[in-house]
Amino acid sequence: MNIGLIISLLSSTLRLGTPIALAALGELVTEKSGVVNIGIEGIMIIGAFFSVVATYITNNPVVGVLVGIIVGILFGALHGLLSVYLYAGQIITGIGVTILGYGLTNVGNAIIWGQPGFSVGVSTIPSIIIRVDGNVFSLSPITTLTLFLAILLHFILKYTWIGLRLKSAGEDPEAADVAGINVFRLRTLASIFGGALAGFSGAYLGVDWSGRFISYMSAGRGYIALASVIIGGWTPLATTLISYVFGFFDALQLILAQIYGRQIAPQMFQIIPYIVTSIIFVFFFRKSKPPASIAKPYKRE
């Protein structure tokens, strides 16, 4: 293997792990509080779509990212309010948001660009370019931000009152309530945070990674993020690491398809990340313990 290949593999790993890691970190906070949002896949695709639309209109990808985050906040809030105040069956709500996301973005794409499948190209967030021996290593600023966020969350969860209260709401909401913590508000806020990062992750796909909207472009990454949180044992650093491991296999798949694409059908490579995720998930599943009250709505009296 030559150095160019290694650099390109590493660069792609960071590129493809970032959307998973971002969504996973958000979901981690949501789940810590006791709410599960399996609809982050849907929020990602919606975030991707609206970020591209915003960039298409303003020609400014930063505005695109902000719009992606705002849309994520709205859907996170929706999921949070339904789960917390109306005791929604969170799994069903999540499936609903996923389907809704696919539908909404496909309809919108057809309306705005008049073609099914994908949008026109829009400008993207400029990458940081590092040259090593004539090989180009490009790094997205959002990747750097993601890594920083992981470390920040690590400290917040471990050493601050916010972390303590989140944990208490997810472990035993009644005890937290008795301790004077507004469990309902806290869980809603945690869902909003999770939604924001899922929207951010979608925006990354739209206006950083690809520079256009493509139907179903989230491609199950929201669910891979869910797997990362579980395998990462609800800790930010491990979750981020495992997200990039999944990113690595996605990158590997692309590079293998480039090299061997003529001899072997592309589908054989495309299934690699999904199979690897499943295998890792099965092997590490038993070792991690979820927050005790996860996905259980809390009711008073």
């Binding site: 009152w161 472990e171 035993d172 005890a175 937290a176 301790a179 005790a292 009296e301």
Partner: protein, 488 residues
């Protein structure tokens, strides 16, 4: 402090309080005495801001106040320690105590050293000694109770409400605990002590308020009170003492020999227990909660593997009648219909060929149970969650007894039931004894053990540390044994 004309109706229509007036004086220890379901806890949950009254007001020094949450009540220095623990097992003692009231550094981080300092002062004040850095899950029950109290005191509480605080303590721990209460009183803390134990109110309180069926039955100064007076106020109607006839037990039905069982934390919860239950007798196992009785029963009924020893059930029945400790979690499926619950666990006996369930027979069976045990049911096709707690329990008992097995295992069968339902369940147990059945009764209620059982085994830290005939036991003796003090 005053509560005026408090009414409370729960959303499901249960009337808990029917116009209660209550005064609490500064610096006193007030006993709130009453049977289960008298409304004591509801009343205090209202005072501590956890529930809102349907009608009525709270006044502090003559001013009307309104509590929207426990936090509001705490602002006035009112804090409550609940009967079941509100501690989070995966957090440390210190984390549990500061939760919600964390001293902050730079607005974000928790000032743990400041918290520890304050906690140490409180431990001195109460005489409780604890390591702040251990996980709560590793503490024994008595220590958890201390954490609960420290947690409430940490919030600078001037009025401390304690809901049945002694129910999980051993007699020695109760003494320690009463000493702490007296110290708190010296430091000007007002205490409301909720209990149904007459002896305890007489020992520790200054004044006693008796509640009955959501109304105040009477207020007395403790020095003027005596047990018969209080008992009369609590129950009003003299309950008929249960008749226990002389009865000679027959052959061994259940034999447990040197049984070792691991708990959820993988440590041994049952350490070499041996006993026998004979036909025609009620054998009681009593102990403070968490002494291994849960694991012991689960091993006997086959819900938990055991590692060493033997369990022999010497009867021809294929089924075991098992009345589980929590009917809503283990005994019933609340979302399913009443008749569907009447066949749970015996559903295979109602099938014809090709495993098709014979609904006619199930409904007949269910109707028979309802009639025989006078269960009040809106409709046998209704979901079981629409039955009252007492009737749900009766349904479980009826179904389990319909198995007709020789051995019956009952765990806390009267917990949470009102007096009437409690008595009818106890009478049933005695009837079974008459009919020459073998009954294993696991309970944490001393009265129940003494009243119903023939022989009582006391479980302590996973071992049976004493086995006596019920008539040879007194409340005191049993209490000591439950605390691990063996009498020589």
């Amino acid at each position: 402090m005053e509560m005026v004309n408090i009414h409370k109706v729960y959303p499901d229509g249960t009337i808990a309080l029917r116009g209660v007036d209550l005064e609490i004086y500064e610096g006193e220890i007030l006993g709130l005495l009453g049977e289960n379901g008298a409304g004591k806890t509801t009343l205090m949950k209202i005072l501590s801001g956890l529930l809102k009254p349907t009608k009525g007001v709270i006044k502090i020094h003559g001013d009307i106040v309104e509590f929207k949450s426990p936090k509001d009540a705490l602002r006035y220095g009112i804090g409550m320690v609940h009967q079941h623990f509100t501690l989070i097992p995966n957090l440390t003692v210190l984390e549990n105590i500061v939760l919600g009231y964390e001293p902050k550094v730079k607005g974000l981080f928790i000032d743990m050293s400041k918290a520890v300092e304050k906690l140490k002062k409180l431990m001195e004040l109460t005489g409780f000694k604890l390591d702040p850095y251990v996980q709560v899950s590793s503490l024994p029950v008595g220590f958890k109770q201390m954490v609960e109290i420290l947690k409430t005191l940490y919030k600078d509480v001037k009025l401390l409400i304690l809901d049945e605080p002694t129910s999980s303590l051993t007699p020695i721990e109760v003494k320690q605990f009463f000493n702490a209460l007296r110290k708190l009183k010296e430091h000007g803390v007002t205490v409301v002590f909720i209990t149904h134990k007459i002896k305890e109110v007489l020992e520790i309180t200054d004044r006693i308020v008796v509640l009955r069926k959501g109304r105040v039955e009477g207020v007395v100064k403790t020095i003027e009170a005596n047990p018969p007076l209080l008992a009369k106020m609590m129950i009003k109607l003299e309950s008929k003492p249960l008749l226990k006839t002389k009865h000679a037990p027959g052959s061994d039905i259940l034999i447990v020999e040197d049984l070792w069982v691991r708990g959820d934390d993988n440590r041994y919860a049952v350490k070499g227990v041996s006993f026998k239950v004979r036909e025609g007798e009620i054998y009681g196992i009593i102990g403070v909660e968490g002494s291994g009785q849960k694991e012991l029963v689960e091993a006997i009924v086959g819900l938990r593997p055991y590692e060493r020893g033997r369990i022999i059930i010497d009867s021809k029945d294929k089924l075991l009648a098992y009345i589980p400790p929590d009917r809503t979690i283990e005994g019933l499926v609340l979302e399913m219909r009443v008749y569907e619950n009447s066949e749970l666990g015996i559903h295979r006996f109602f099938t014809s060929k090709a495993s098709i369930i014979d609904m006619k027979r199930v409904i007949e069976h269910c109707k028979k149970l309802i009639e025989e045990y006078s269960i009040i049911v809106p409709d046998i096709k209704a979901q079981t969650r629409f039955l009252s707690g007492g009737n749900q329990q009766k349904l479980v008992v009826a179904r389990e007894l319909s198995k007709g097995s020789k051995l019956i295992i009952a765990v806390n069968p009267t917990r949470g039931l009102d007096i009437e339902a409690t008595n009818s369940v106890r009478r049933l147990l005695l009837e079974l004894r008459e009919n020459n059945k073998a009954v294993l009764l696991v309970t944490s209620d001393i009265d129940e053990a003494l009243e119903v059982c023939d022989r009582v085994g006391v479980i302590f830290e996973g071992k049976l540390i004493g086995e006596e005939l019920a008539e040879a036991l007194t409340e005191e003796k049993l209490g000591l044994l439950m605390g691990g003090v063996t009498i020589s």
